[in-house]
């Protein structure tokens, strides 16, 4: 495999070269326009997506995810979200009707130029989402303009390359290099881990093992708690990035995925790394189980409804010690790993559906849901003797974010009206009318109780789910500047399709409530409007 073949083809193609200039200049509206124009001209979505990732790969690394200030205090540095946008959008697009199927990709390219060089954005040295919305650089005295915001668009300088590309390492057996890869990541050796990965990625015979190892590396790096930790947390991003790599490489083809690797892999070994839960389970499991490596094969029992209730109740209302003890007890009783994993998802959705009201309280738990999806995908797809440990990671992560939210008193001013009051009105509609109303309620966020009543009434009125999923996916695809949304949509769809418990419909309930209530990075609709202008005539 030659290094960065797509990057070279971008330079040769006039349309792609124009797209490159617009993206690097952080000119997101015109980049989106150019992207849609090329789509309309017949460029394959995968080619455009690969080109966009190739353009941005050098500019999405951070030297560290911690900035140490001159006074010795530290703050966190956000993880790159461009690759998460592409993965979520690509997957979501496959679940939407034809007329809106490309809207998620438009949202991804709308976001991508705003997500470059996060390190510089945080220092107010480059425009984009973090500089404009999070740091509010444009409000600072030294950057204030009479009209407009220089941190919106376009850029006044090039984004920085914080980690240069490197050649692959090819020496040694696959087995030895896979071991070294994990070791290098855990030790924080970015260059060596990246070079080892590139060498392994060249070998088709090693591909499935490399995918498994990549997910494993991301999953085991998870903080013990976010409570009062400031920037010393990753809220699951290492795992989320690993899943993005695997999916996008499969979509683009591994021979064409160098820039996906360049985007994702060096960050695995970036500072900080968290192995407290890995350490906990590494010590604890051998103490509890003589054959802990074989639990996945040995345990086959489902959870009873009562056990499911106990798991949900413990994750929602108890502390980490109780959660750990319960997972161990369930494993000792022969419960299947995937049955417990489904129960953890059920706990998250119960929390979203029944407990959360404040729009700001959805965001972090949403990350734990996406992390559960990566873990569960890994459990469902691959084999690894350490997989039982991941049940503790996901259950403790969900529990921790619930506890972190619970440290804030409930605000009576933002309570949602009990949705049951609205049920009679929802039940008076036909299922088709319910979907129309649900779409509007999720998009506008004006009436979350109405959205909850509608989704609840729909799920009880009919067994139909495909149109409901398409409706929620479409509503999610209209939300701009926020790669979390496409990811949440895909997590909801995947976990719904795989969940084996009696509570699986609750995943769709929680998804609807999230869309209708959770705080958004933007309520603007510029991307949807542009998509409508440029793509609608083509689709009709």
């Amino acid at each position: 495999m030659t290094a960065a073949p797509i990057a070279a083809s971008v330079e040769r193609d006039k349309g792609l070269a124009q797209l490159r200039e617009l993206v690097v200049n952080a000119d997101y509206p015109h980049a989106t326009e150019q992207f849609l124009r090329l789509l309309a001209e017949g460029y394959a979505p995968e080619r455009l997506m690969g080109a966009a990732i190739a353009v941005t790969a050098p500019f999405v690394q951070a030297p560290s995810h911690i900035i140490v200030r001159p006074d010795g205090t530290a703050r966190g540095v956000n993880y790159d979200h461009t690759i998460l946008a592409w993965r979520g959008s690509d997957r979501l697009a496959r679940n939407l009707p034809k007329q809106t199927a490309l809207l998620p990709l438009a949202q991804a390219i709308w976001y991508t130029p705003q997500g470059l060089d996060v390190w510089s954005q945080i220092h107010c040295e480059f425009p984009g989402h973090y500089a404009r919305d999070q740091e509010k650089c444009g409000d600072r005295e030294e950057h204030r303009l009479p009209i407009g915001n220089k941190f919106d668009s376009p850029a006044w300088r090039a984004p920085k390359v914080h980690f240069g590309d490197l050649p692959p390492l090819r020496d040694g057996s696959v087995e030895a290099r896979l071991h070294e890869l994990i070791e290098a990541i855990m030790e924080g050796d970015r260059a060596r881990s990246y070079r080892l990965f590139l060498g392994l990625a060249e070998e088709p015979a090693a591909r499935e093992r490399l995918k498994e190892a990549t997910l494993f590396a991301g999953i085991i790096d998870i903080q013990e708690t976010v409570i009062q930790r400031g920037g010393y947390q990753n809220i699951g991003h290492k795992a989320l990035r690993a899943r993005a790599l695997v999916d996008l490489a499969d979509t683009l083809g591994w021979e064409q995925a160098h820039d996906v690797f360049y985007t994702v892999v060096p960050d695995f070994a970036c500072t900080p790394r968290f192995y407290e839960l890995w350490a906990l389970t590494t010590v604890m499991l051998p103490q509890e189980f003589r054959a802990w490596q074989g639990l996945k094969q040995a345990n086959a029992a489902p959870l009873s409804e009562r056990e499911l209730d106990e798991l949900i109740d413990t994750i929602l209302w108890s502390g980490p010690g109780e959660v750990t003890a319960l997972i161990t007890r369930l494993l000792r009783c022969g419960k299947a790993l995937l049955a417990i994993a489904d129960g953890v998802v059920d706990a998250y959705v119960r929390y979203i559906w029944e407990v959360v009201d404040h729009p700001a309280a959805f965001f972090n738990p949403g990350h734990s849901f996406d992390y559960c999806n990566v873990v569960n995908h890994w459990l469902r797809t691959y084999e690894n003797p350490h997989q039982a440990k991941a049940l503790y990671f996901e259950a403790l992560f969900v529990n921790d974010l619930i506890r972190a939210n619970a440290l804030f008193p409930r605000d009576p001013a933002v309570e949602i009206e009990p949705f049951e009051r609205r049920l009679p009105a929802a039940e008076a509609l036909t299922p088709a009318q319910m979907l129309v109303e649900l779409d509007a309620a999720c998009r506008s966020q004006r009436d979350p109780a109405w959205a909850m009543a509608l989704v609840d009434a729909y799920l009880r009125a009919t067994d139909e789910r495909t149109n409901l999923i398409a409706t929620l996916g479409q509503a999610g695809a209209t939300i701009q500047n926020d790669p979390h949304i496409a990811r949440l949509c895909m997590t909801s769809i995947e976990e719904y399709r795989h969940n084996q418990t009696s509570r699986r419909d609750d995943i769709l309930r929680a998804w609807a409530k999230y869309l209708a209530r959770a705080v958004r990075r933007s309520n603007d609709t510029g991307c949807v409007e542009l998509y409508g202008r440029m793509m609608a005539p083509r689709d009709t």
Binding site: I227, R403, L407, F408, R410, D411, A413
Partner: protein
């Protein structure tokens, strides 16, 4: 299973809880504004003993509306309102509208001596 014993234990705990709430009501009536502000501040992420402590905040608010005079409650609201948006949940718990809603929702079982106790 000894249902009689379990029910006796339930009634004893109820009686003990009523005594505790009587004592708490007296403490709230006697507390200075500064003491009330300090105590309400203990339901913040930085000072709370944990989520379980913060989970009891709603019950504290109910007790305040039952035992504390309107003037001191208004002062509580003003204090936390002035601290900014991070304290909105606390300030919003002491608005007159919130007090009216809580009083209207207070559940007094028919024929009982007191309103029902809700722990969470």
């Amino acid at each position: 299973m000894d249902l009689y014993r379990a029910w006796k234990l339930r009634n004893s705990l109820g009686a003990a809880l009523e005594l505790a709430l009587d004592d708490l009501a007296q403490q709230l009536q006697d507390a200075s504004l500064e003491e009330l502000i300090d105590f309400a501040g203990s339901f913040s992420p930085a000072r709370a003993a944990g989520p379980e402590w913060v989970a009891s905040f709603d019950r504290f608010v109910e007790m305040v509306w039952e035992c504390v005079d309107a003037e001191r409650i208004a002062a509580l609201e003003a204090e936390f309102r002035a601290r900014g948006p991070l304290w909105a949940a606390v300030a919003n718990s002491f608005t007159p509208e919130r007090g009216a809603a809580l009083r209207a929702a207070r559940y007094q079982p028919r024929g009982s001596r007191r309103p029902a106790v809700v722990l969470r």
